[in-house]
């Protein structure tokens, strides 16, 4: 069966002379050798048909390394653009939070609402000030896992940057917490409780403070230690404030927004430092 022939790589005759010159042949040698070299074009090699190449590909395909599930996921992610990319990133990040996180957070809010509505304690704001930051504690531990889990390296090489991932998780956690806060406000409003705004702020502002402090501390400490230290510090402030004369200063209604502002500032600082301090978070051998 005849096969198509390969083309001769030299279109111009002088190209052969150039090759001989390059490899050090004298003009006399070139003149002597060129006729023989020109004759090389007489022997053509067969060229494979497209069907031959397809058959070869089919035989070799079984030996092609199988891409890992991680790489496949990254490739699928790369194919998305714009809003679909954002949605895919958000969906992937939401999947990190198990059902326990959503349920426990809602339960903590519900317990806080029930205690406030039942008025079993004289200081209703204190209950909310203590229970609100507990959500920040839970969110920090779930969203910002420590290097001990050996997933940080994977996150460092994935498409969204660590900063984008941190932002996405913060938006998820705080968005959910704010949503719970709105539900709490509605419950308080529906039950006819006065000072709905003050109670909601008493719940939300310390939450932001503890979230910001925990994230900032997690850049230096383990996530567990950072979240515990942040929440513990807030509980200590609460304890000091309620048992001493400092209550009028630390927990004054006029300053109820202050913890939230400090918390937001700490979150911004933590996110900025996250980018530069990422190397410290890598697991060390």
């Amino acid at each position: 069966m005849p096969h198509p022939q390969s083309s001769w790589p030299f279109e111009r005759p002088e190209q052969l002379a150039d090759l001989l010159r390059e490899q050090g042949a004298t003009p006399e040698e070139r003149a002597d050798l060129l006729p023989a070299l020109r004759r090389l074009s007489e022997w053509q090699a067969p060229q494979p048909e497209p069907a031959d190449t397809r058959r070869l590909l089919a035989r070799l395909a079984t030996e092609l390394p199988a891409p890992s599930p991680v790489r496949q996921a990254i490739r699928e992610h790369q194919q998305r653009t714009g809003i679909f990319w954002l949605l895919a990133t958000a969906r992937a990040q939401v999947s990190l939070f198990g059902p326990a996180f959503w349920l426990v957070s809602a339960l903590v809010t519900l317990v806080g609402a029930v205690v406030v509505l039942s008025k079993v304690l004289p200081d209703q704001e204190l209950v909310l000030r203590a229970s609100g930051p507990l959500l920040a504690y839970l969110g920090t531990i779930v969203a910002f896992r420590g290097p001990g889990l050996r997933v940080l390296e994977l996150e460092l090489v994935c498409l969204p940057s660590p900063l984008q991932l941190a932002l996405a998780r913060l938006v998820i956690v705080l968005g959910y917490d704010v949503g719970l806060g709105l539900a709490l406000s509605l419950a308080l409003w529906a039950s006819g409780t006065g000072q709905v705004l003050a109670l909601t702020l008493a719940w939300l502002m310390p939450l932001l403070l503890v979230a910001g402090l925990a994230l900032l501390l997690s850049l230096r400490l383990s996530v567990q230690a950072a979240a515990s230290l942040a929440y513990g510090s807030w509980l200590a402030v609460l304890a000091i404030g309620t048992t001493s004369n400092l209550q009028t200063f630390l927990l004054a209604p006029a300053l109820s927004v202050l913890p939230g502002c400090i918390g937001l500032a700490l979150l911004v600082i933590a996110l900025l430092r996250l980018q530069t301090g990422m190397h410290r978070l890598l697991p060390h051998p």
Binding site: P9, L16, L37, R39, L40, A45, L57, A61, R71
Partner: protein
Amino acid sequence: MAAVMAGDQVAFAALVTRHHGPLLGYLYRLVGGDRQLSEDLVQEALLHVLRQRTYQADRPFKPWLYMIATNLARDYFKSAEVRQCWQRGDAEETLLHLYDSAAGPEERALAAEQGNEVRAALAQLREEYRVVVVLRFYQGFSLQEIAETLHIPLGTVKSRLSVGVHCLRSALAPVQKGVD
């Protein structure tokens, strides 16, 4: 190549499509015009590409691919000495037949058209000279690429080319005179 090693089928198809023809031509001429053998060697070379772990991403792919192909052809000749002897005998027989004064001008012209004389002349070259001649004059490799492919100094490439080309001229000269 990095994409191929990561299992990218599109990159792999592009790589094979780009190199299939030139590689087949190279091996076909190296093994003396045996189409089936050269196709087997092409497949084996590409399998080596997929299975190996020695490729360095910062180095050019083509010399590395042809190094594998050349080594496979060499291994074949080492393991099939009888066949090599047969081929050498076949080539000599072809040349003797062509130089035979009894062969008429028409027969010589037909043989030239089919490339038999050149095939026989190349088959007569020692393997080390045949490789550099085929890489240089059929594959269009630069001297540096040949050096990288064969892991030999540039000076050695030039000297082998010089010897190979002179041998080729000697092998083809009687026929040239006859045809002229």
